[in-house]
Symmetry: C3
Subunit: 317 residues, 3 copies
């Protein structure tokens, strides 16, 4: 079976999930992002790579944060950007998602950045659009959010270049996280030997061990000697439900505090995908502390998205 | 009386309705659009014709689809685009529509793309703005939506260049359609000898024959030997009312199915302004079939809008 | 104590309020705006000064009008503009305002245009962002709206260049006005010898005389021989409350009518920050009359905002 993310020459055609990306493509994205990391630090933060191309942000679910990162990345590549928040629009007029997309393809949109509440929406679109069109999954249900996973891996590689020698702990709501699975896959593919997940049983998917991770329910044990602590966001709606006792209780057991962080290696880095719930999954002293690389993650997110878009635009020609 | 759409040298100054456009202007728009149809197929889909001009999308009624087409067209002409959705804005603060517009004129907006639920809104604005400002009607009530009419005519001319030898059928809700009247006018002006309208009596305006069309209530009779089938969108709210029995019944009588289409000429083209109600006014087998030019209509819509904006920007200097 | 609006070389770093701006900076802004006033009158209304910079409109409170003016100004400077309406976004996900801002700083936003319902929000952000980032206050509660104040002063200077010889009357809801205090301060700083405020007692702040103004409750007395009449907008919510008898009553006492304007100097100019309540604080005959400079104010508002942004971008390098 063909890999839907690659064109016939093995180049990146769509970015739908980290699962299924060969190691050389993953490495190519990170290496390309490295070159764009410099662009955003210049005074004129712009390259003409996508001049005259049209990037279409197609958001079936609202996410100002994600939309903004793709908009900034596309504009720094000199693309024209059009943002559509669907739901208030044609969808409510009974048009199918595919008709909406095909209309935009007919307007010669080149790259679609798709956000949808349902798993598989971006895959579905990628499978049905014309061959010259590229799709980036910007989050579909709980399934996947590959640019987040890529920027996390990029950040880890920047701070800990020797990935074959790392212990990484992912802490929190693994069950509902769009990114945890992608992270685990990417880290394993890039040769990280030990990935741990730390969570209460109620926030872990069944058979999580099969992903090749070590499972901890006790955060103090799980953080011991790790090089990277990746915190996950605890979504508010979880805290009202039966899954968790209370925010205070959660913070006590699974919130990252300075004393828990002290169990990790002294040069360990702390990551969080944002937006943070300070005092729930992370203590402000850690979030704003010297080991935090939470804001660099955001910075590298622009570089990674520029890299992905420029690679897509270069494929299939 | 002066034609409000033309400047004193007879050049296009505003685009308010197809009615009132002389044949040479109509032809000039179509010819100019022809040259822009190529731009959108290039890799760098951009020309510098409107660089440094400001196009203002002034939407008093939401329409993501229409807004997007004008935004893409303006950006491909290198204009700066500002989109305002009014209603959530100053209008609710008691400002008059004309004060809102005059403020934007004072900011040196060059072209206004106006969408309003009330008939005549774009005409009203055009009548009151400063002489160097141009207004494009992007839909006002049931009255007019001239760029839709123009892109339809452009599409017909592309596929059936010999317009003096055509039979065109317009099918569906003629009564509430913003475009049907414009189409009829444009087709007649460009020399199409036979225009038919096909609809139940409840969806036809009184005295429709006076527009020079042939009226059919039976779709099978009406489609016989036509070269072009233009389907209209059936708006959901009509189906709940007393005008129509039910969606199923409508589809049975006036939905375009392969067997009904077979009554037209074998090389007839099928058009629809979108968004489509599949299974109500059009069968998917036809919408996605080989005779459908529904997506090319969308593509040509960008070219036509680029043509109109570039002509407006070139007038009155 | 350091002036938070200036960098260590005394150049404009943030624009938070007119209070605290030294006279030479105030004059520099007006002089720079003078050069930009010409740009908007050209056909290609664009200069490359901010090419590759990112201007972020951060609106915690909706204001299409203000957002549009900054967006147009930034685009005419060739900046990339990203607009965020927060509230529907991460803020509702429990993220702090500062985390939202720091995320955007991490994406290398250069200039923030901040609108917030709470006084001091822009100051707070300016105090906490990285040193290379610039903040413009686009309205915070009742506190300040400095670009409005600057454009008013710019307009006065354009029409009445000899500011040492002027009588200016500010009429209306001084108590709730974001701008009245800024105006008074700017006018005094630039040497205007006589500033009058005209309002009912209920719409005047306590101790208003301490700002160096002359207080009038009778509009006919207050307008006598003034060179400039600055009307303020009467917010609808005030009219329902206990502060005022009725809109009709207000218009009778404090609405600017041709006969009241006749008491001012014959060459007096009339100003209003918009949006206007015609028939409440101002009569249409005056608003649209020959002495009105209400639309030029809007035009100069673009020039002033271009001036401020270009000065900010040039500081701190």
């Amino acid at each position: 079976m063909n890999n839907p993310q690659l064109d016939k020459n093995g180049r990146l055609k769509h970015l739908l999930s980290i699962e299924g990306l060969p190691k050389d493509i993953l490495t190519q994205i990170l290496d390309t992002a490295e070159s764009f990391a410099g662009v955003s630090e210049r005074e004129v933060k712009k390259v003409p790579l996508l001049r005259g191309r049209t990037v279409c942000n197609l958001f079936f679910e609202n996410s100002t944060r994600t939309r903004t990162t793709f908009e900034i990345a596309a504009k720094r590549l000199s693309a024209d950007v059009v943002s559509l928040h669907i739901g208030t629009s044609s969808q409510s007029k009974g048009e199918t998602m595919l008709d909406t997309v095909n209309n935009l393809v007919a307007m010669h949109a080149d790259i679609f950045v798709v956000r949808h509440a349902q798993s598989g929406a971006a895959h579905f679109i990628a499978r049905h659009v014309a061959p010259h069109v590229h799709v980036i999954n910007a989050g579909d249900g709980r399934h996947s959010h590959p640019t987040q996973g890529l920027l996390d891996v990029f950040t880890i590689r920047r701070y800990k270049p020797d990935m074959h020698n790392l212990r990484v702990a992912i802490v929190g709501d693994i069950l509902h996280s769009r990114v945890a699975r992608s992270e685990i896959h990417a880290l394993t593919t890039l040769g990280v030997p030990e990935v741990r997940v730390i969570a209460p049983k109620t926030l872990l998917p069944e058979y999580v061990e099969r992903l090749g991770v070590h499972v901890y329910h006790d955060m103090r044990q799980g953080l011991k000697d790790v090089d990277v602590v990746m915190m996950l966001r605890l979504q508010n709606e979880r805290m009202n439900g039966a899954l968790l006792p209370s925010a205070q209780e959660y913070f006590k057991c699974y919130g990252l505090t300075p004393d828990k962080l002290a169990l990790a290696r002294p040069d360990a880095i702390v990551m969080h995908p944002g937006p943070m719930n300070r005092g729930i999954e992370i203590d402000s002293a850690v979030a704003d502390g010297t080991q935090s690389v939470i804001l660099p993650q955001v910075t590298y997110g622009i570089a990674v998205r520029m890299a992905v878009m420029s690679m897509l635009a270069g494929s299939g020609e």
